[in-house]
């Protein structure tokens, strides 16, 4: 028993070392390159970027502090992504359950889906103006297809033996949808939501870089315009942290709601 505990600690600390080693190595290499090579003329090292990130919590970058920029981006992601999740689930379920709906809307969906998010920006500005609405639309568009497709796939992959078992146990067709088909889709819904979240964050950055006066994406754009690489990199690091946090929160939600799907002993 005692041996096992020691082993476990050994394994855990080993994992932490393995996680941190490449990150620290990368940062050291970057710092050295910035200090001793010509790369230093073009861009700052990590120490300077992290310093700038901390300073930007108090001292505004452009119109806002970094946390305010992040809040702007967060609001756009929440509205656009949230509506994409709700409508994407409804659309995906309809695609999966109704032959009629599938025949009607699948071709249109497949036709529009390949158009990259960024290509929609001019149209979105034309339709919704330069305000928030156009950014919501871009995030929505970026996230929607991911959710819809994985829900649709989840419905197609429902185990036929489970469906048969439910019928044998006295489940009506209608009960089948709510008691078997939809619950067995939940893992697919979450995996779609994870992919859609990355896509949504990507979209909000694109929208903010092209058409915005605030947000994390704006920082990168503004830094580029003024040849301020520190601001560009500060924005990028902020994005990394932002994305990491959002994904971690969603994973926690999934763990809570899908306890049956992760080994939980």
């Amino acid at each position: 028993m005692g041996n096992k505990t020691v082993n476990l600690i050994g394994k855990n600390s080993m994992r932490i070392v393995l996680t941190l080693l490449p990150i620290i190595g990368f940062l050291i290499l970057w710092q050295l390159a910035a200090m001793f090579t010509s790369i230093g003329n073009l861009m700052p090292g990590p120490i300077q970027v992290i310093e700038s990130l901390f300073i930007s919590f108090a001292k505004p970058l452009g119109p806002h502090t970094i946390q305010m920029h992040a809040l702007y981006s967060l609001k756009r992601v929440m509205v656009g992504y949230g509506s994409a999740v709700v409508t994407g689930i409804i659309f995906g379920v309809s695609l999966g359950l109704s032959k009629m709906f599938r025949a009607l809307f699948r071709p249109l969906f497949e036709l529009i889906r390949p158009i990259p998010t960024v290509a929609w920006i001019p149209i979105s500005i034309l339709w919704f103006g330069v305000d928030e609405m156009s950014k919501y639309f871009i995030v929505f568009y970026g996230a929607f297809a991911n959710v819809a497709l994985s829900v649709y796939m989840g419905i197609q992959r429902v185990d036929p033996v489970l469906v048969g078992a439910a019928k044998m146990l006295g489940c009506s067709e209608r009960q089948l949808t709510f008691k078997v088909v939809l619950p067995s889709c939940i893992p697919y819904i979450f995996s779609g939501m994870q992919v859609a979240l990355s896509a949504g964050i990507m979209s909000v950055v694109v929208a903010e870089m092209i058409n915005s006066y605030e947000g994390i994406g704006w920082n990168i754009h503004a830094g580029q315009q003024t040849a301020n690489m520190t601001q560009v990199l500060t924005g990028m690091v902020a994005l990394a942290i932002f994305g990491l946090l959002m994904a971690a929160i969603l994973r926690q939600v999934e763990r809570r709601m899908c306890a049956w799907n992760t080994r939980n002993t």
């Binding site: 185990d159 033996v161 489970l162 048969g164 078992a165 439910a166 019928k167 044998m168 146990l169 006295g170 489940c171 009506s172 009960q175 008691k179 078997v180 619950p183 067995s184 939940i186 899908c258 306890a259 049956w260 799907n261 992760t262 080994r263 939980n264 002993t265």
Partner: protein, 263 residues
């Protein structure tokens, strides 16, 4: 002779008359059909433990799907008592080789699934479910999800779930096929204990001769695909049976020989 004596005074629960089953094959080059069951006729009597025994891939699962009503035969008919079986129904329960528990439901949720779907009074169905969970030896695991259970424990849930609707007949389609040998022996004894406790008609499918002789009141030997009844055996050994008793080995050997001839 022996058979006549065996069925004397017993009520037929399931009657299967001249059932054929063909599956359409859609190939790039040809369209045709593949016959899995060819003129299958058999009767299952009240409260007997019947084993459908046959070589692998002989169409046993197709037969169970038709007997339980999940699938329709291409020709022929199946009756439960006087009613023709045309669709799935709660008068028949099924235990699956793949176990097929609902992974998003707890042990209790799985066992209660049938009664709940039928709208049975909650307290009553809960009480019965608890009784069955105790019967299969899973008290204390009511709130566990299937993923945290071992294979044997999962199949115990599968058995309790099938009993929960109080069906007249239970179909068990190679229920222990996915379990390791040790667990399998234990589950064979368990299923007999449960069968003694909750007398129902059981139709048990297996391709394991030892399992067949250990469990059955009567063994129906099936031909290989397309399948039909090759022969029947009344197994009048006392329970509990021993795998190594001379009579056991004798019966086992005889059926194995007959099966080889059937192939």
């Amino acid at each position: 002779m022996e058979y006549q004596k065996y069925i004397e005074g017993r009520k037929a629960v399931i009657t299967c008359k001249n059932v054929c089953k063909e599956f359409d094959i859609r190939d790039r080059k040809q369209a045709g059909s593949f016959r899995v069951i060819d003129d299958l006729s058999l009767s299952i009597y009240e409260n007997e433990f019947v084993v459908l025994f046959g070589p692998g891939e002989c169409g046993k699962t197709s037969a169970i799907n038709i007997l339980s009503g999940l699938d329709r035969p291409t020709a022929g008919s199946v009756f439960q008592g006087d009613t023709q079986i045309t669709r799935p129904g709660i008068e028949r329960g099924v235990v699956y080789q793949s176990i097929a528990l609902f992974p998003w439901l707890t042990v209790m949720g799985n066992v209660e699934f049938g009664p709940k779907a039928r709208g049975i009074d909650r307290t009553q169905s809960r009480k019965r479910a608890q009784e069955l969970i105790n019967l299969v030896g899973l008290q204390g695991f009511e709130n566990a999800f299937p993923i945290s259970l071992s294979g044997g424990m999962r199949q115990r849930v599968g058995i309790a779930r099938a009993y929960a609707n109080d069906p007249e007949v239970l179909f068990m389609d190679e229920p222990f096929g996915a379990l390791d040998a040790q667990t399998r022996y234990m589950m064979e004894e368990e299923i007999l204990r449960i069968y003694e406790h909750e007398k129902r008609t059981v139709v048990f499918v297996t391709n394991n001769i030892e399992e067949a002789v250990f469990l059955a009141d009567r063994i129906i030997l099936l031909k290989s695909c397309p399948t039909s009844v090759k022969q029947e055996y009344i197994i009048d050994l006392e329970r509990p049976r021993s795998y190594t008793a001379p009579r056991f080995l004798e019966i086992r050997q005889k059926i194995t020989r007959d099966m080889d001839k059937a192939l």
